[in-house]
């Protein structure tokens, strides 16, 4: 395409977009209604529903965490802080030995550092970390972006169930622990 036809075509594209935005009902009913024609929504007044798999905030299911530290070590930003101590849990079957387990003292994610890569969720072998589509957790104080394990546990209620896999998939559908 030559220079001049290209320029004219480009001008046509922008003009068409502007017309479609201002007159969403077409030019036969020329009533300006840009708020209907625009592809965007006016955020604080109107909210878009995030998709179920949207990556908003990371939730922690504390019971599944064994303090294995994999997430903290894989985190590119080193924004996960884990402290735990060894303790004895009652045996699984009657007459067995008490089990040695790690009990979490601290599990914090610093969302001021987090870059939402999701590696911690991927790497967790015990299904303790989940993506939640919630995205409104900004804070006036930056220190409040450090979410402790209570706060991270509260996000679990917002985690949606996993969607069904494609028909015929061999993989077993995972369940979100409730």
């Amino acid at each position: 395409m030559g220079l001049v036809p290209g320029v004219i075509k480009g001008l046509g594209v922008t003009a068409k977009t502007a017309l479609n935005t201002v007159f969403p009902d077409g030019l036969k009913k020329p009533i300006p209604a840009p708020s209907k024609g625009a592809a965007t929504v006016q955020y604080p007044h109107e909210k878009e529903e995030p998709t179920p798999r949207a990556r908003g905030v990371i939730a922690l299911h504390e019971e599944n965490c064994t303090a294995c530290m994999l997430c903290a070590r894989e985190c590119p930003d080193w924004c996960i802080y884990i402290e735990a101590h060894k303790t004895l849990a009652p045996p699984r079957r009657a007459g067995g030995k008490p089990r040695k387990v790690n009990e979490l003292d601290r599990f914090s994610i610093d969302y001021a550092l987090c870059m939402y890569c999701g590696i911690c969720v991927e790497v967790c072998p015990f299904e303790a970390l989940f993506w939640s589509p919630e995205y409104e957790f900004s804070e006036p104080r930056i220190a409040d972006l450090l979410h402790d394990k209570t706060r991270l546990g509260e996000w679990m209620t917002t985690v949606p169930d996993f969607e069904d896999y494609e028909a015929g998939s061999e993989a077993k559908k995972k369940q979100v622990p409730r």
Binding site: V13, T21, Q42
Partner: protein, 342 residues
Amino acid sequence: MILGVDLAYWQETLLRVLAALVAVLLPTGTLVYLYLFKLMSFMQSRLGPMEAGPYGSLQLLAEVGKWLQKEDLFPSRADRRIFALAPFVVIASTFLLVLIVSAGPDAYFVNLDVGIYFGLAVSSVSVIGILMAGWASANKYSLLGGLRAAGQLIAYELPLVLAVVGVVIQAETLNMNGIVFAQADGEIFGWGGIGNPFILTQFIGFGIFLIAVQAELTQTPFDMPVAESELVSGYLTEYSGIRFLLFFIGEYATAGVFSAIAAVLFLGGWYVPGLDSDSNVFNWLGPIVILLKILLVSFLIFWFRFTMPRFREDQLQRLAWKFLIPIALVNIAATGVLKVVF
């Protein structure tokens, strides 16, 4: 004498200063709100500012308030005096440029015999301000931006002047009002119904003029000097607060003033077909007509701005030197020959 009232010299001067402020700031605000905020948003399928005032109409006031509150920062190694002065040089060029715009047979700031020549001369003063800003910032991005701006503005000054020469040949005068009268009293093959707007005969000149104006304003696709992905924001990098605001007003006010000049040169100025070109009506109707024509011409400028991606530096220079200037020269020659023949 203004509108039949005798005023002392200082009163007249005060009125003219106020009128110049209005003539610069009113079209600027209109252009920024209507085109930069709204039209650009619509062309990108969004709404633009909606919170400040109905449909965001007070957004500009909010922005100005924000800029006025900001700290007037100086880089520690900057050449402080020149750094502080640069935005005023740029805006002075805009205010000098608005002086030649005529909005009616008596509604002008100064009626210079060399009208358009004076305008093109003072419009190049802004290059000095931009170079001063780029040099005094003590910042390599600013310096590169300033140098690019200088190269670009000088390159496009030439087609700008050459495009105007065709009009001047046809109108036989440099005076802005004279050019309007020449169009108002002109005839198209003996038919004087709408006068003879020079866009009919000088459409090549009009195109070159608009392209050159786009480059003079450093608007996309000619925004190499402020190319944000390469130069942060060129010569504006170190500016904040009111000094940035002055550069900003300078850019968009110049867009408005150049649109007004294009309207006078090519679109018949303040003249409305059907009325007597000497009639007193034009002293109040003219400014309205000029404002509408400013909106029309700057719509073209901003439409291109919102559509086109940026030129590369060498493409930009090639367009000016290899295409626009030869075409403009041919246009002048053709106009001259036809002027003598007819």
